[in-house]
Symmetry: C2
Subunit: 277 residues, 2 copies
């Protein structure tokens, strides 16, 4: 029922069904005639436009059909923090469930399309279509899980490791949607990434070239190609001292030393991480 591209000459109906929402989020198995009957208005969002405004009263959830967003929190002093990046299948506005106010601005990073689901109406509809209730629970759980993954990223010492984890998360999400697991386009600026990772934007730039120099990735502007997925996957695990001591225990290597070591391995024919443990 997603008749956004119904081929009738650009007349976009700007509506979608509950079934579409279920499909976008990965609950296609719950689609049925009941969920087909529930309709939601859709909205095209142009780059830079805000879908939710921080502090505005929570009314609706926005289901992303296409495009991507960043969620930005601005504290009272004007400092900005990028709370996360959202794409197809993600839901905007869930933090409003807590106190009835959106917790950040959702800014479109590219032209996008979202379905607008009034929370009240969504709840009403869920009495007829229980899957819609599950939809909210699933989305909430994912949001929490996603935040925890972000914590893992920021917990990493070493900017290169943080960036490696970030890139692997992005590409994994993209791969889940059926796109390439090797090539990607960064929709956000270096500065946005820096804010999200808690590092300086110069460091993002330097770390990208470092990962490229070590042979893990190739960088051109905002296009990234993963050259050595296994090596990068291995490299992202470089952290500070293990809480559970390794049995063999030559734990003396610093993260930098390990990074350089891995870089050397990578130069010797992209073998880094190819070794199974």
């Amino acid at each position: 029922m997603d008749n956004r591209m119904d081929g009738n000459g650009g007349l976009q109906s700007a509506r979608c069904s509950g079934s579409d929402l279920l499909r976008w989020i990965g609950m296609a198995h719950e689609v049925g005639p009941r969920s087909d009957q529930v309709v939601f208005p859709m909205r095209r969002v142009r780059t830079g436009t805000l879908v939710t405004h921080e502090g505005a009263p929570f009314e609706s959830l926005y289901f992303i059909n296409a495009g991507s967003f960043k969620s930005v929190h601005t504290d009272p002093d004007g400092y900005e923090l990028v709370q996360g990046f959202l794409g197809r299948g993600d839901v905007i506005g869930l933090d409003g469930l807590s106190d009835g106010v959106y917790g950040g601005d959702a800014v479109a990073l590219e032209d996008a399309t979202v379905a607008i689901a009034s929370f009240r109406e969504l709840l009403n509809a869920s009495r007829q279509v229980p899957a819609l209730e599950q939809l909210i629970f699933l989305a909430s759980g994912r949001e929490i899980r996603r935040k925890n993954m972000t914590l893992e990223v920021m917990a990493a010492v070493g900017a290169e490791v943080r960036l490696a984890r970030f890139l692997l998360q992005l590409i994994a999400r993209q791969a889940e949607q059926g796109y390439s697991a090797r090539r990607m386009v960064l929709r956000m600026s270096r500065r946005d990434i820096a804010s999200h990772l808690g590092i300086a934007h110069e460091t993002v730039s330097r770390s990208l070239t470092a990962l490229a120099d070590w042979g893990y990735i190739e960088v051109q502007h905002r296009e990234i190609e993963i050259l050595d997925p296994d090596g990068l996957e291995h490299f992202k695990r470089v952290t500070r001292g293990p809480t559970i001591k390794p049995p063999g225990g030559r734990g003396g290597a610093t993260r930098r030393a390990r990074a350089q070591e891995m870089a050397r391995m990578a130069e010797d024919g992209h073998a880094a991480g190819a070794t199974r443990f």
Copy 2:
């Protein structure tokens, strides 16, 4: 109906009502005769015991009545990350809503009491008592909001600022529950705090003494007293360069310089932050 202490000689009934859950989480206004009829088993949890196990199938949500917990994620290499700390009114296990598996171990930091709510039964009950559905939404939203606050903490440059933000968050939550807004007892170890904040545990120790030296707090073992709430509130805003440039613009002061400046002010009679801006 929370008859944990029903005064009949220590016989604890180990049960509570849906109304209790609503009260703990701050939805007392939704309490009614319907929610009284819904009952949940309760469980005492001793220090160090796990309530949820990472990777175990999601079945229940655990509502904390008393005590506190840490949520710990262990990655495949054995590195541990403290995802958060939970106390009265918080809900354990919400991340299981995403993929049906708990995302971390919930470890009791002290003897605690929780209500066990089978998610399936909770949903069934919510058909009779809609407030129970709201309960889950509210808890989810709060969890997301809480994670975003943790991101703010970790985004701070400077270990002392991170710690200041962390302490202010803890004390704010405690004050919400009606306890002191000045004195608190840290239930978790320095190492746990370090893991949560993404810094070395030695740095936690040093930063605590630094905040104490500057007159913001007093530290004795795990007991903390906020000596200068306004000063600490002001100090926590010390961040890196503003994204929105200040009009007067003497933006050259480094965070360390500002920290030392505030320390001097504090020494001159705890005046730091007392000035209104």
